[in-house]
Symmetry: C2
Subunit: 425 residues, 2 copies
């Protein structure tokens, strides 16, 4: 079921109620790869939200709930190369455009981007923050597609394979369903490198493989799941201990997901559970709540627990922190908390990720300056013993509902929902 013309019309009408002036949104231009070659085109998410058509060099004017599309039919010369273009009546019918005008008539208005007037941006954030029924359906599709891809990746994982072979399993899964990727996938045996765009590693028995991958469905909606699992098939005892800690942290965070709850509290629940686990394992010493207050957990879990999910993997981050942070709020300066991408109360129909992780990052755990404030609460000998764990992250996609929260990843095959922890004896 795709988003209907009526769904787009309702979005435009809701925007018109929140913002009275005309709004111009551009779809964008193809990005160059090795020029003149371009990457596959993907329209701006704001354009897709209000106008739907994934096509370059378009603009749409939203005015009092009406939509005018600015689109130049291919010239005869262009049509020889690019085909005749779509039928205008079909375009009107599919996306609910009220009129279609040539590109030369695009009015000289400010466009919707991060420089637009604050009241316009606030209106757009309000709409895109709470997903309407059509958006929720699209998100479900994107997460389902993501789940199936993860399943294929897990099936493909075995010793001696290269990371790019696992990437291939992910790509073929989403491509053969007509989708693509919502962000650059992470497929790595070195999960402690948080942003790792390389896929050259060779999987070894005893490794954990971290897969952070999201499908983008045909209309541009994003899934974003992370699983970390052994390369056939057993955890080492240390890996298993930390895996359980991260899993507990994720469950603790998920329990906080409900309308009215601050996402900061979701993050705090993850940090607290993680810290409790690390105290039990004696990597940390002290009272967990105090350790979290001081930021000691961030030596192992430096990032935030999650972010908004929608048409972007990190939804609306093209607008800076305007969507992630409630009006008037600013990022903390404390290491760890400063990377929290989401600090606003959860509301029904918001979609968020919940993704705690444990990482053995040498740049943190071998850095005397970083360690100095935490000398009293760190057992560095025990910490060292867990170096082999490298990185473990678990990420689910959550839709907040009036009555609580729904885990959109629940369609995961049993193997992926909860990885059976078999420990090497």
């Amino acid at each position: 079921m795709h988003t209907q013309a009526e769904d787009f019309r309702q979005r435009r009408q809701r925007l018109a109620r929140l913002y009275k002036k005309p709004v111009l949104i551009r779809s964008g231009r193809p990005a160059h790869r090795n020029p003149p070659q371009t990457y596959p085109f993907r329209a701006s998410s704001h354009f897709l939200y209000f106008a739907g058509w994934n096509h370059p060099n378009l603009a749409v004017l939203l005015e009092e709930g009406r939509a005018t599309l600015f689109y130049d039919r291919p010239s005869l010369e262009e049509a020889v190369w690019d085909g005749p273009g779509p039928d205008l009546d079909e375009l009107r019918e599919r996306y609910g455009f009220d009129s279609i005008r040539p590109g030369a008539e695009i009015p000289d208005l400010e466009v919707l981007d991060a420089q637009a007037p604050e009241d316009l941006l606030e209106a757009v954030v309000q709409l895109r923050l709470r997903h309407d029924a059509a958006a929720r359906s699209q998100l479900e599709q994107a997460v389902d597609m993501t789940v199936r891809a993860h399943f294929q990746a897990m099936r493909a994982t075995r010793p001696e394979r290269r990371e790019f072979q696992i990437l291939a399993a992910l790509l073929v899964s989403v491509t053969q369903e007509g989708g693509s990727t919502s962000f650059s996938p992470i497929v790595t045996r070195r999960g402690e490198i948080l942003h790792n765009p390389h896929y050259q590693g060779t999987l070894q028995r005893g490794d954990l493989l971290l897969v952070d991958f999201g499908a983008e469905n045909r209309e541009g909606w994003a899934g974003d799941l992370t699983r970390t699992f052994p390369v056939r098939t057993n955890f080492t005892p240390r890996q298993a201990e930390i895996y359980e800690v991260v899993l507990k942290a994720q469950k603790a965070a998920l329990r906080e997901c409900r309308p009215g709850r601050e996402y900061r509290e979701v993050h705090r629940a993850a940090c607290l559970a993680m810290t409790e686990g690390l105290v039990q394992l004696e990597l940390l010493r002290g009272h967990p709540a105090e350790l979290v207050e001081r930021g000691a957990h961030a030596l192992f879990f430096p990032h935030g627990s999650g972010h908004l999910l929608g048409l972007d993997g990190h939804d609306m981050e093209d607008l800076g922190d305007r969507a992630g942070y409630a009006p008037g709020r600013r990022r903390s300066s404390q290491f760890g908390l400063n990377f929290l991408r989401l600090d606003r109360p959860l509301e029904a129909d918001m979609a968020v990720t919940v993704e705690p992780g444990f990482y053995w990052i040498p740049e943190l755990l071998e850095n005397q300056e970083r360690l100095a404030p935490f000398r009293d609460c760190l057992d560095l000998k025990t910490v060292e013993a867990y170096r082999e764990v490298r990185g473990i992250r678990l990420e689910d996609d959550i839709l907040i509902e009036a009555s609580g929260a729904r885990n959109l990843s629940a369609a995961l095959p049993k193997e992926l929902q909860e990885i059976e922890i078999v420990v090497n004896s």
Copy 2:
């Protein structure tokens, strides 16, 4: 076998002999997709040619054959997210850099791009035009990878499949070998749309599927092959007739590929053989050479017969026609010939594509203005009968050698080298 430090050094020394001043080349920045998400990074081809490392935000200074890389090691903060970065000694050893300096020291020089001094561009074109042994080896790898992907695509093709499913077969093949795509693939049952970036069609028995796909190997070198074949498994009589015409045109063109021959003559051979075939089939009437002179063939074959191949699918077209056209030459104004991308004498170690095609393009064959000059030599009733053929293109990758030419696609499985023409009875 990857390109060795010594290969890069030799390229720099050859450049120094052709151009005496210092040259700065930038690797480029990641292109944004849905911001802040980026596409997978791919360095500029000039950078890859002289410096090899596919990494963003770099610059290399080439001066008297010496190479200084400007690279900022990740700060401690960045290393937490991106890892510690490569070892500098390994970088020096792998790519033959003479020194590595911080980015703040990048000198204020003109960079190598389309705006650079003409004598610099001419020197770079001269180098990249004739592939050294390392480049030839890379091109062979890229074409082999492309061949294997085409083979998987052909195996995956059957009625009721969607075009994106065939795309998936191509992508998985190159990705699991550690490669990617050198340009946006064309996978379509509507081959008459020359640039078709969509994959939504459903394959039907009786369709021809046109696949124009090139792998990019790990070092960035491009393959670029096109095959057109029936969706399981027979041609219609009309399709078979035209397929044989295109195949003859390609073979005629391939026979012209040798050092000293003008590529224009390769193109002319393709046009002439195509026209002879169309005269035999009675779509055209008249003397083939005169028809080609008048440009009548371009109603069915509007594009050029090929282009340079190297680190880009259309090699060096970021520099406009400087590489494709010999100094002092300009594009023709005749329809068809104006799309010829290559007009210079072939030389040993150049790589080119040879890719004639036949297309039933309504914007040409139903356009009275386009047809007017050719009324006397067109049999429109017969032309109409071939509408079902839509589009057929056959493309091989050719390395010019001292003694003639080598078809790099010759590693194609037999099924792809020459598709068995079985006609529906």
